[in-house]
Structures are given as C-alpha cells and as structure tokens.
C-alpha cells in the first residue's frame, strides 16, 4: 500500500518536474533583457520580446483581483458567519456551480454582456471575466478558513463586548488572515494562466498598451498565438513566455506556502 501511494505521488511530482525541465530546456535560452523589455516585432522577423504581454498580464490580473478579492472575501465571510439560512444555502450553491463552470463559458458570457454592448474588445472585459472565475474560488476558501477559527475565540470577543460584525472582522477574519491570503494567492495564480475567457474579451494586442478600454495582450494569449503560429521564432518566444508564466505561478504558490507557515508560526 505504502509503495503504491509512493509510486502515485512520484507520478504526480514527475509531471511537474518534466514540464519544468522541458520549459527550461526550450525557453531559458530565449530569456534575455530584450525579451522582457521589447515589444513583438513584425511576423517572421527575429528578435523582439513580450513586454506588452507581461505588462498586460499584470494589469488584467491586477484589475481582476481588485474586483474579485473584496467580493470573494466578503462573500466567504458572510457564508461562514451568517450563511446558515436559506440565503446562505443559495449563495453557496451558486458559488459551487460557478466554480465548476468551464472558463470558456464565462468568457462567452463576458463577451455577450460587456464586449458586445461596448462595441469592442477590452482589457476591462477580460478582468471582469477573470474576476467572475475567481470570486467563487476565493469565497469558498475564505469560508473554509473562517470556519477553522475556533469558536472559543469568537466567544471571547463577544464576551468582551464586541458587536457581532466587529467580532467577524477584527477577530475572526484576522485570525484566518493567513489562510485567506493563501486562498487569494492560489486564486490569482489560477486566473493568471487563464486563456479561454480572454480570447473573447481582452483579445490580445501585438502593441504595447496600458489602456484598459482597449484590447490587451497577456502572456497566456501570447503563448496561444505564438505556439499555434507557423514561425520558429514565435515558437521560441512561446516557450520562453510559458517559462515566465510558469515561474510566476510557482512564485505565487511559494508565496502561499510562506503565508501558511506564518500562520502556523504565529499559532505556536
């Protein structure tokens, strides 16, 4: 039994190691200064970089987090602290359904409700689509983390003369903070690599832009376009972009680990 479990875990780890090794082998050589600072050059030409996609990823994901984190955390707090009634049940059910909705469906909805009425693709529509993906995820993690806070702490605060909402915010949410932060980082990592909803919303853009009302490039869109394109130069850049995106996600995962360790450190 132990052997079987060991083999299975080894397989899981092996996948990650193989992907990383392949990415490094094929992408690392293209990571130079101009990759990070230059914009794409004309199709077929050599050189250029993905500065527009890196900045675009930052803007779109940042904006999505700005929308998604407060809503998601607020919903999670509500579910954990007050969500025992019928409304709580409905919210929880909707969040679970939304959590299981394929991201491409979210993209189509964002296109119908934002891109079409606005008349053009935009980074903002992409952020809203990503936020919609993120909210149920954050809400459910926050709920779990808040539920882990011992009931005795709540009672201690209430018995000291804390109003219930204040207990939720000052004691419960703060105690669960490390867990909530972890959930948020994992959520951000998850949407940072999303491509499908962005195809219908942010579209992609070979030029550098910081205007959220315009189409905007992200690393995931760049990888999608370059990897499916005909040029070797594009493939090279796609590998490098994939390595950067993977590194970003790993960084967020390490950050999440670190946040968890902080919590356990504080609890001892």
């Amino acid at each position: 039994m132990t052997g079987l479990v060991a083999v299975l875990s080894f397989t899981a780890v092996l996948a990650l190691v193989l992907i990383l090794a392949d990415l490094i082998a094929k992408g690392a050589s293209s990571l130079d200064w101009s990759f990070f600072t230059k914009n794409p050059v004309a199709a077929g030409a050599t050189g250029g970089g993905v500065a527009n996609a890196i900045v675009g990823t930052g803007i779109i994901v940042g904006l999505a987090a700005l929308i998604g984190l407060p809503v998601g955390i607020g919903t999670g707090l509500y579910l954990a602290e007050y969500g025992s009634g019928r409304l709580g049940w409905i919210v929880r059910f909707v969040a679970d359904v939304l959590n299981g909705t394929p991201s491409i469906v979210i993209g189509i909805f964002a296109w119908t409700w934002l891109v079409k009425p606005m008349g053009h693709f935009s980074a903002l529509a992409g952020s809203v689509a990503l936020a919609a993906l993120m909210i149920p995820m954050i809400a459910r993690t926050t709920e779990e983390m808040v539920r882990l806070v011992p009931h005795s702490l709540r009672e201690a605060a209430l018995a000291l003369g804390y109003a219930r909402w204040r207990t939720s915010l000052r004691i419960v949410a703060r105690t669960a903070l490390a867990g909530i932060v972890t959930g948020c980082l994992v959520g951000i990592a998850r949407i940072a690599g999303e491509t499908a909803p962005l195809i219908f919303t942010a579209l992609g853009n070979l030029n550098f832009t910081v205007s959220v009302g315009q189409p905007m490039q992200t690393l995931s869109l760049q990888i999608y376009q370059y990897a499916s394109g005909p040029f070797d130069e594009w493939h090279r850049l796609a590998w490098a972009a994939a390595l950067v995106l993977m590194g970003l996600v790993l960084l967020l995962a390490v950050g999440a680990r670190w946040a968890i360790r902080q919590r356990h450190g504080a609890a001892r």
Binding site: S84, S152, A159, A267
Partner: protein
C-alpha cells in the same frame, strides 16, 4: 448571609427609579434570577430558577455535567441567544435591570459582565493587545492611559511579574495557567461588575489551579464572581455561597459551609459525598 459589603451606586445613565418595572439595585445582591427557564429547541435545559447572587462574594455553582450550570452562566451575558432555536422565559436582573429588557444592549451588557471560559482562549496577539482589547473597543479609556490600565489588570490577575518584560510576546505562547490568568486580566480590564467563570481551572494543573483560586479570593474584594466548577474541594475552598444544580433545576442554594456540612436536600448530600455525578 455573611459576605455583604457596601452597596455600589447605580451605574450612571440607568436611573432605575424612573423606569417602570425596574427596581432599585439591592444592597445585598447583584443578580436577581426570577423564574428563569431556558430551552434548546424543544428540550428544556433550565427550570424555574429562582435565587439571588450576592455582591462581592464568590458564588459556586456545582452539579453533574449537563445540568445547566454553564447554560445559566451564559444566559447572564446573553451569549446563549447567539445559538439558533433557543428561547427563555422568566427574567434575570442585573443591578435591578433586566438583562433581557429592550433598553439593555447586549454589547454593553457583556462589557459589564466579564467571562472566563473553560479553555484558555487568548487572542493570537500580544499580551498587551489581549488585555487592551476590551477597553479599546468599549472606549473606556484613552490610548495613552492604556499601559496603566493593562498593568493594573495584569496585576489584578497576578500575572504582571511574569510578563512585564514580555508584553509584546504572543499571548498563545504562554503556559495554560498563564493563558488563563491572561484571560482573567482581559476580562478585568473592562472593569466588569460581575465576573463569570465557567470551569476556569478544568484545563489546568494543580499549581496553576491554586494560583487562580488565590486570585478569586483576592478579586472578591472588588468584584462579584460566579464560578461553575466540577471540583467539590474547589467550591468549598473558594466560594462563600454554593448552588447545587441537578437536571436543570436549582436544588439547593445557601452558605457554602452549610451546604457542605449540613445539606438540606438528600440529592445535594449524595452529590457532595460523591455517591453520584
């Protein structure tokens, strides 16, 4: 009744004599329980409790587990009402004012009635912040007066000498006995009129228990204390009055010496002598 002391003036702002149905605070007792009943859903947990809790004394509530002692304690500061599907009948009067009346704000009530729980439950924050939490939230004193207030509360809880150099250490990093005294200091920093202790020593070793017991004897000079305990020796050592709960009813209430030497009810005698419970 022996341990009576000087009556306190009525808390400002309450003006009991001007309100209908509100009594003058009694000089002898702080709490007046009147035909109090309590239900968890369909199950009745407390039946027709009728007694008074004396001022500036330690009152012990004893009885087998599940007999409603903690339920009663948590009725006084209305913590029970946070549990869904509970209800009560009858009344509990703190200083002559019903804790359930419309004018009584549960948040203000809980400032006036401090509580120490069975398991030490300090916040995962510094010693200082733990103690300062109540006064801060209730705006009892200015922030610059806070160090003085924290020190006073820690001294009252006999913890000051052990933590005075470590006020910025995290409260949860101390021993169980120290944590419990920290929780007592936290409750005292609010300057409550009544202190409820729900088996405060059950998670502690004998040495820590002794410290808390000595503390209670000191604290009753200033505070009125109600303690729930399973420990007969503890009840007889620290309390001035004792109430025996059995199956949700108060079987007997009186002077601790009398209850332990000449109980008038045979069930009390059976419990005290260890024949059941």
């Amino acid at each position: 009744m022996t341990a009576m002391a000087i009556p306190r003036p009525a808390p400002s702002g309450l003006k009991p004599e001007t309100r209908p149905g509100v009594l003058e605070p009694s000089p002898t007792h702080i709490l007046d329980v009147r035909d109090y009943n309590f239900w968890y859903g369909a199950r009745q947990a407390l039946f027709d409790l009728r007694f008074t809790i004396p001022r500036r004394a330690v009152t012990a509530l004893i009885g087998p587990s599940g007999c409603g002692k903690s339920t009663f304690l948590r009725s006084i500061n209305r913590l029970n009402e946070l549990i869904p599907h509970t209800r009560h009948a009858g009344d509990i009067l703190l200083e002559g004012v019903s804790v359930f009346s419309r004018e009584t704000d549960p948040v203000e009530l809980r400032r006036r009635v401090g509580m120490v729980f069975q398991q030490p439950n300090p916040f995962p924050k510094t010693i200082f912040d733990n103690v300062a939490y109540g006064p801060r939230i209730n705006a009892i004193c200015r922030e610059r007066e806070m160090p003085e207030r924290v020190e006073r509360a820690l001294r009252q809880a006999a913890l000051w000498d052990e933590v005075k150099d470590r006020l910025q250490a995290i409260g949860t990093s101390f021993s169980g006995g120290q944590q419990q005294r920290l929780c007592i200091a936290r409750a005292l920093a609010n300057e409550p009129e009544l202190l409820l202790m729900d088996e405060p020593c059950s998670a502690l070793d004998p040495a820590a228990t002794q410290r808390i017991e000595e503390l209670m004897v000191e604290l009753k000079q200033t505070y009125s204390i109600v303690i729930v305990t399973h420990n007969m020796q503890q009840a007889s050592r620290v309390s001035d009055f004792t109430g025996f709960f059995y199956l949700g009813r108060l079987i007997e209430f009186g002077d601790t010496k009398q209850i332990f030497s000449r109980p008038s009810d045979e069930r009390t005698e059976a419990y005290i002598t260890g024949r059941f419970g």
